[in-house]
């Protein structure tokens, strides 16, 4: 197109650049025209739609929301596991006449479940209303069932803990007429504690799994296995720290079994996931925590097996196992919170499962319909 005679003197136009992907770049004033001010250029850029071909989302915003759970919940998951395993060790010690292990495990159970409950309450939006949890029992809510499990376990642990403290202090607790009652309650309370302990360790897997948080949802068939393993190794570790080696033989075996279960179930869980759902467990801070959790679990396990009869090695191994369990809980919690941030982790697996159902001939259960 030529408008004036002088147009013939124009240098050739540089080809228009097409940019793909990425955000729009602002032109600086110098870039307008030829850059030397010799002539005018297009000020407004060509309209270009930024979209990647394989994936759509709404401006990259999350589709689902993460629960407002922070550190205290991870601490609770850890302490609840220690409490559960300790409760079971205490019962075993009572049955096999290991008095020091029994006493220490009962006190550990009481201390950890007490602190864990406080952590749970602390994380509520309205902590002063925590008793509202007791308004109802709902089977569809793992949180509701869990509240009753924790509440029950804590109560029985309280009875047993009081009993042990009373024994340690030579019956100096001001119990009065309650003392014979407390003594009579020992066996029933111990039975109730050991009955609730395994569900206390495993329900948290259902609590996280019964959600739409991509990484937890994908792990709902494995989280309980991971958590009971983590609880076993942590409780074994706690007993190895607190009790003499003569009585912690069962705790060492339990811790070793826990280490095996922990490593195996974590790897099986990751393998069963869509790569996008497993990614938060392997990358970033949660990934680092889980890597160290695995290393410490294996190190603690080896220490337990090889040096568990030495008091110092046993205590060090126990500490490593406790740290490993805490890191596992923090890692899994934060991997879930991280997984909602990228909408791809929600959309891609959902599209894949929808496509798989359609491919297998099920075409009537889509939320999108043609009419």
């Amino acid at each position: 197109m030529s408008i004036t005679d002088f147009d013939a003197d124009r240098p050739p136009q540089p080809p228009r650049r097409r940019r793909r992907g990425g955000g729009r770049r602002r032109r600086s004033l110098n870039e307008v025209g030829m850059g030397d001010g010799s002539r005018e250029g297009a000020v407004v850029e060509d309209v270009e739609f930024t979209r990647s071909d394989e994936f759509d989302s709404y401006y990259g915003r999350p589709v689902v929301k993460a629960p407002p759970w922070k550190g205290p919940i991870a601490i609770y998951l850890f302490l609840g596991g220690v409490a559960a395993g300790s409760g079971m060790l205490a019962f075993g010690a009572q049955c096999t006449d290991r008095p020091v292990l029994r006493r220490n495990a009962r006190l550990t159970a009481l201390g950890t479940v007490g602190l864990g409950t406080l952590a749970l309450i602390e994380d509520l939006g309205r902590p002063e209303r925590f008793l509202n949890m007791m308004r109802t029992v709902k089977v569809t809510s793992p949180m509701s069932l869990g509240t009753w499990i924790v509440g029950g376990f804590a109560s029985f642990s309280g009875v047993l803990g009081a009993l042990e403290v009373d024994r340690m202090t030579g019956q100096r607790l001001p119990l009065g007429v309650l003392r014979p009652l407390l003594g009579a309650a020992e066996v029933p309370a111990a039975l109730a504690q050991v009955a609730l302990a395994p569900v206390l360790a495993s329900y948290t897997g259902a609590l996280l799994g019964n959600s739409v948080v991509p990484t937890w949802e994908a792990g709902r068939g494995h989280l309980s296995y991971l958590f009971v393993s983590s609880a076993s190794l942590a409780a074994g570790g706690a007993a190895m720290v607190t009790s003499p080696v003569a009585e912690t033989g069962p705790a060492r075996l339990l811790a070793t079994a826990g280490v095996v279960g922990d490593v195996v179930s974590m790897n099986r869980m990751k393998e069963s996931m869509h790569p996008l759902e497993a990614e938060p467990l392997e990358t970033g801070r949660p990934g680092t925590m889980l890597k160290w959790a695995e290393r410490l679990a294996i190190a603690g396990g080896i220490g337990t097996v090889l040096g568990g009869r030495n008091r110092w090695i046993a205590a060090a191994s126990g500490a490593a196992l406790l740290t490993s369990s805490a890191l596992t809980r923090f890692g899994v919690l934060h991997a879930g919170l991280e997984s909602v941030k990228d909408p791809r982790r929600v959309i891609e697996p959902q599209k894949a499962r929808l496509a798989a159902r359609r491919a297998s001939g099920i075409t009537d259960d889509s939320i999108s319909t043609s009419g």
Partner: protein, 333 residues
Amino acid sequence: MSLLSGPEGPAADAGWEHEHERKGFFTDTSICIGCKACEVACKEWNRNPIDGNLEILGSSYDNTGELGANTWRHVAFIEQSQERIEEARESGRKLVSLGMPGIGPKSSGTRGALPAGDLSSSDLTPPDTPEFRWLMSSDVCKHCTNAGCLDVCPTGAIFRSEFGSVVVQEDVCNGCGTCVSACPFGVIERRDDGTISPFAHREDKVERMGTASKCTLCYDKMVDGQEPACSATCPTQSIKFGDHPDLTAEAQQRVTDLHERGMTEARLYGANPKDGVGGTGSVFLLLDEPEVYGLPPDPQVPTKSLPQTYATAGIAAAGMIAAVALSFLGSRR
């Protein structure tokens, strides 16, 4: 499907003994003009505080962002090119040829056969494939038939109203946050300092602080026989409020009409009682894939697989018992 309610009639399943029809929204995004009157009306009626400090988000005309504790209606803006419109048209056509369920009354043909509205033989030249379009859609709580938030609420603060909607009692909720992780649509959220950043010198107290909060379908208005603020204010009737069966029928008719005009990109979202949430109380007519609007393509209420999840927890607990028992049996003194 879920433990508490069947695919239809959630209010009846919840134990209400009177005959309120299930209420809901039909949001027809094809006639939404993006005026955001619904957002404003909702905020005013429900006295929801501001989200953030009025920053520009750089996402077309949407500076609200997403649904949340303080935003119970959210208008999405999506800008699309001609190429994209054609793709949307194609994906909508695929839904038809998949033999997606004819939920409404079929005009002719047997089940399984291609629907009467099969468009492969009719004139598919769209009347106008513009070079550019804006998709505008007012999103809201879906009031699912099988509501994840309701199922997992441990305090009973969330209940099913007599109108079939899902409502939070803010004076009962203790803010545990479980419901937030159970909503497949990312709607419900806890109102706290992490999510809202009120103006520095806010004088008045923020209501519902620390508790879960979401659209109530204006429960307070409905008990007085009025309609929700958003639909009452919608100037184009893009948001319609009414009895759920009527709205679903209307939505199906609207899709048929649009398809006849060559707009095969039109599709319904949430009108299928067999979907992962048992159908939604808020039905949407969309003009592209749901994920384009920030909606999940295949939402599933977590409670649906809760029996299996509990079974896993049970097996894990049994395994732990076995491990402890063997540890004591296998340990020499």
